[in-house]
Subunit: 766 residues, 2 copies
């Protein structure tokens, strides 16, 4: 039966609200993508959040949204209900194993083989792709400054391969040398022209590529991964190419996040090869989680960091050790493949090897490091706030409509400003590598960084670089190009860290005998302060302030630098910086973007209620569309046609019997209603007593039931730990209300001012 | 109201069954430790499993079990219900924060400070203790062979500190040299006498110490940690000393597991300093989990491995990132403290540094490594089976009563046999370190292992050593001395691995030009096969076969050996070995011991039902003791006096209202029933209507409700992920049954033949 009369009039009001809020009107409703099984409160459109879900189908869907007959059984756009998907996966496995004879033995084996094929090949491809991308980026960004005399296609590292560190590489020619321009003015003009124009051209091509061919390939991918774990086949190439172009353009962005997305796209392509993976969203997502891990592993050369990243940030891991193990395997294979390509010709996974002069650190150094941690926390929080402000501003301005112009302009400005400051001009990764290095007479001094007489100039330049980079990064992360935030953040942190290191070193050189430096040798020529390591501390605290990761961040930093002996100060700085940043604003950059886009993702950190109970958040039973135990099939059909919800609670005189999913009910009803006359037939959810009544009991699913007095915190925890889609509330058996995952997500992002600002608008179909 | 008449007669039958099964009789029931809130099926005594719970109180309890007035609110012996403990922790925090003025600011701060004080000091103390234990063990085991000329208290490493590798250390004198005995016969007799007698004496002292002073300090501690995460203050010293003595005695055991327990004891001692931690079991356990991680970190010099061990093996981690982060901090601090002590004078955390001749490995080597993985899986499974057989045999034989004699005898036999075989005679850690080393002309050749002409002798000796060690280890692990299984397992695996390595190397030397070796240089003097790394592979696959750990094992192995470049073959071998071993028997050594002792611990791996639903495992409502919504207080008291269950479902005409915990109900009833006449007063669980009726509604707790048709797999998953104690089943609101954690544990260990054989018997009190 449809809801009782009083309830249905209330429902109608609410329905109108919902329609006006989401921009739907009745006739098109069925052609629009599905609404997940929640009873939204009026005015709170949960809509666009789900639209993004399981993205492989998004493009296709936006093209053919009205061809809803082609939709697979599991509708795209839904929040996956792991609880029920797990059950269907179990069914599949059981039916496979129970086959007779050889098939019963071989098909499970084939199934596992396919899985591992995907895992292993994703690992290999991601590692190779990551390595080749690095080589391409080096060549492109080198082009902005000059070319290799040995051949146009050689990048700077290949060109100078045989040259000892400390020697000048003669094979590498600046454009001035190449064109034989001798006047200094001419050289300067040519160099700045080449640098700025090529940077702008790269950025513009990246933007055109992405916007014309793969509109969902922009941005880091990490918020998308965290929330959705999807990938589009077509975006793969675009994203990879766009990534190389945008990184080479000198825009303040990193390759890390997009590489994660590339990795997910790859595993998705491999999954398409096998029909086994169709229709099982949980299985797909678990593989995509492993792929994401491989992406992180390759981006940072950090196989363990990748696994821990997965554990700390990805929903799909949720205590599942199979996923963890698969992620670990993919991660290590990818790292080995990367090592095989060896893009930086170092034979090492470690990207920014720290040359530790000393194996130990001194207690007094904790004081400057403490300052750095606080600076990192404050600046990290500031960067997030600026970034969100920029995103909101962009959304509301004309720039939103002109992404290519915006990107080209930003690239031109970035290149012009960067050309003026020596530390900004080099690619971020070179800057970081040099800032992490200790001074060594055997190596070329990086732009006079090791010159003790130029301390103040260096400190000024470093701080300037950091400040400018904060501005650029805040603007850049969020434009329509593939962009990661990790590398710029590291660069910002490293500049401030090195500056503090230089200041501490200067202080020591000026007062070598002060009590403060009593742990050092009183001879100021003996080295005591290692400013390179200060840069590492600065980078880690900045990263902690921006991303709010903890364990995985520490592991990534020490895999990135090889500084295992200094892990304790790194850890302390991460901890303090996170505390400071959390005090200034609770959300990290990824959580902020998820909230901006309103993805249905639950943050892993603990949600604390202020004494609220479930009843405060649930949709009361009077606002729910419920089905009665005994209903005519016609009525059921009408409910299905009227309401878009993912499913409906089933009651007998108010007592909750269970939950029936929309799709199940629909596919059950269709054959029965195909002819005529079936409309008046009675369906019975508790089982049919006679042949006339349709037995609907197999459709009934179990619903998690709690009393509505449960603290909200526990409810949130259950959603998180069990990956549920809804929880029912009952009092002595009677249904009192329901909470869905979308409610919970809305709740946990309620404090976020600009929530949903960037949620993708519904592509109109009706 | 007590159960209805028909139900209560059924209950009586069942009660008798239960009493006979658990050895209880009515009058003593209240003096016995509590029975957790489960309705055991007749004949299946879940009793002793819980008795062990939260062990700090166990000793005290066994001494004063009849002083039940002294029991704290939360009774020892209970399975912790995280669901409800979390709620009380939340209450505590809220009331603390909501205090007025400065108190509201300072007391949360103090609370956090106390927590971190414990975490940090546990880390430091565990690191120092681990280092000092290593030094003590080296001195004690050195004593069996000789003494240092520089002083009696110097161990061999300190004694030979200045000696270059490759030189002979003249300061270290064997007993023959010290006593000036020149005849070879005399020397041999003296040496064997000193070796065997001292070994036996050490083992006997360890046994006496442990059995007289801390009967629960025996064994590895890892099954106990996994299941219980408890620690006894007094056991700390005994365990540490007993550990040093038993490791030095040459018995086939490792220091790892016990060190984990020592670490937990330490943090427990620190917790005793603060009243904040009293009464909050979840909080205690989370700290103990961090301490356990530090123990692993120190035992293996593997801070990351420790954290991953925690993730993979400890219940308490369950997706909680606070716990993970705390574990990481403790772990790293402990590792730094260990490095500060530097017991092996290597300035390295890495215990068994692998000296990799080559950075790469060759594809054909995968074939011998594959063989090694299979060997590891088979032998690992065999070791578990032998070990369990030995444990069961011991339990049923007279040896059970004579632990000191058994230990002394075992030590004597071990020492006598070991003295004859050169690889058995040295301490296991020395053996492993040498087997992992590649041959190097600059180092002393370890007992001719690098002599190419003695290949067959070496292979024979290595295999003999491995086989003997399997036997010894299977017997030793389970005796009443502190013992770990990790090191002996590594040693066994390393002997077989090195043997396979030597064979492969011999094959290469014999046929250097075979197609099989085409990747090697055709000149046999150029090294191609590195048998030391084969030992690492052997050790990892043996470990995987015995412990069935995956990610954490790989991380521990590569932190142990520093072989990051070879992580891929290590991973493959772990994977294959685990598959082979799983095929031969599903349980690892820890899971087996947990089943033997019947601890209430749920294995993290996925439970697969064979189509069973919850109804197949639940206790039917007719066998449950349920309370009615409206009951007289006297009746409630009688139910409390009659039944020992942790709590009771509350119903109204069969409709489930909630759950009331025994302790809550009891402490509520006591003041009301203190005088006389209260017995006939009516209590109402839905709230009192008038002043006469006692309002019991605040006692009602929420109960997780499911339909009984839910697949069993999902029920098990919920218990695991939410750390529940019970789930209620209802049909349209009516209570149909209940499953408790103990039921689930029984279910998941049902396949285990000797389940509960070693469960501790009830110490009789009545």
């Amino acid at each position: 039966m449809s809801p009782s009369d009083s309830a249905s009039s209330r429902d109608n009001t609410w329905r109108e609200n919902w329609e006006s809020a989401s921009g739907f009107s009745s006739p098109t409703r069925l052609h629009s993508p599905p609404h997940i099984g929640r009873i939204s409160k009026p005015g709170r459109s949960s809509y666009s959040a789900e639209q993004y879900e399981l993205s492989p189908n998004l493009e296709e869907w936006s093209r053919s949204a009205h061809r809803h007959r082609l939709r697979p059984h599991y509708r795209e756009g839904d929040t996956i209900d792991w609880w029920h998907e797990d059950a269907s996966e179990r069914e599949r496995w059981k039916s496979m194993v129970s086959q007779h004879g050889l098939r019963g033995l071989l098909s499970p084996l084939m199934d596992v083989t396919k899985l591992w094929f995907i895992i292993i090949f994703t690992g290999i491809c991601v590692g190779l792709a990551g390595g080749w991308l690095d080589i391409l980026v080096m060549w492109l960004s080198g082009l902005r400054e000059g070319r290799c005399a040995r051949g146009f296609l050689w990048n700077q590292i290949e060109c100078c391969a045989g040259v000892e560190p400390g020697e000048v590489c003669h094979d590498w020619q600046s454009w001035g040398e190449y064109f034989g321009i001798s006047s200094i003015l001419g050289q300067s003009l040519l160099h700045s022209f080449a640098y700025i124009s090529l940077s702008t051209a790269f950025a513009a091509s990246a933007a055109v590529l992405v916007i014309s061919y793969a509109p969902y390939a922009f941005h880091t991918g990490i918020p998308e991964i965290k929330a959705i774990l999807g990938g589009y086949p077509w975006t793969l190439l675009i994203k990879a190419l766009g990534l190389a172009l945008s990184v080479s353009s000198g825009l303040s962005l990193g390759k890390e996040g997009p590489l994660v997305h590339v990795s997910c796209c790859m595993s998705f392509l491999f999954m398409k090869l096998f029909s086994t993976f169709h229709g099982n969203e949980v299985r797909k997502r678990k593989i995509l989680a492993a792929a994401a891990v491989a992406g992180v592993s390759v981006a940072f050369g950090s196989p363990l960091g990748g696994v821990l990243f997965g554990l700390e940030e990805l929903d799909a891991f949720g205590g599942d050790f199979d996923v963890m193990w698969r992620g670990f395997v993919t991660s290590v294979i990818a790292a080995v493949a990367l090592q095989y390509v060896d893009p930086f010709k170092t034979s090492k996974l470690v990207l920014f090897q720290v040359t530790n002069g000393s194996e130990t650190w001194l207690a007094f150094e904790l004081i400057p490091w403490l300052c750095l941690s606080v600076i990192g926390g404050v600046l990290g929080s500031l960067l997030i706030k600026l970034n969100i402000a920029a995103a909101v501003y962009r959304r509301n301005s004309i720039l939103h409509e002109l992404p290519i112009i915006e990107i080209t302009g930003a690239a031109a400005v970035t290149a012009a400003v960067s050309y003026l400051v020596v530390f900004l001009r080099v690619p971020s990764s070179d800057l970081v590598a040099n800032l992490f290095q200790e001074c060594d007479p055997q190596r070329i001094d990086f732009h006079g960084l090791c010159n003790p007489t130029a301390m103040w100039e260096n400190v000024f330049l470093l701080v300037l670089t950091g400040v400018v980079k904060i501005g650029f990064t805040a603007w850049t992360f969020g434009m329509m190009v593939p962009a990661g935030i990790f590398l710029p953040t590291i660069a910002i942190g490293a500049t401030f860290g090195r500056a503090v290191g230089l200041l501490t070193q200067g202080l020591y050189r000026a007062y070598p005998k002060a009590w403060f430096f009593s742990a050092c040798s009183p001879d100021p020529t003996v080295r005591c302060i290692y400013p390179g390591f200060y840069a590492v501390i600065g980078a880690s605290s900045m990263l902690a302030g921006v991303t709010r990761m903890t364990v995985s961040l520490v592991v990534i930093v020490f895999e990135l630098t090889g500084a295992l002996s200094h892990v304790l100060p790194i850890m302390i700085s991460v901890m303090i910086s996170k505390w400071v940043a959390d005090a200034l604003g609770p959300d990290g950059i990824y959580a902020s973007w998820i909230a901006l886009r309103r993805y249905p993702w639950l943050a892993p950190f603990e949600f604390r209620d202020n004494g609220e109970i479930a009843a405060d958040a649930m949709t009361h039973v009077s606002n729910l569309v419920v089905l009665n135990e005994v209903s005519s099939l016609g009525e059921l059909k009408r409910v299905l046609n009227t309401w878009e919800y993912h499913g409906f609670p089933v009651v007998r005189n108010g007592t909750l019997l269970g939950y029936v999913a929309r799709e199940k009910l629909k596919s059950f009803l269709e054959p029965l209603l195909d002819g005529s006359g079936g409309e008046t037939r009675i369906g019975h959810f508790s089982g049919a007593q006679d042949g006339e009544t349709a037995d609907l009991s197999p459709l009934l699913e179990d619903a998690m039931q709690l009393r509505k007095e449960v603290p909200l915190e526990l409810v949130v925890n259950m959603f998180r730990k069990l990956n549920l889609r809804h929880i029912m509330f009952s009092q002595a058996g009677a249904l009192t209300g329901m909470i869905t995952k979308t409610d919970i997500v809305a709740l946990s992002t309620a404090h976020f001012e600009h929530r949903g600002v960037l949620a993708v608008e519904r592509t109109s179909t009706g």
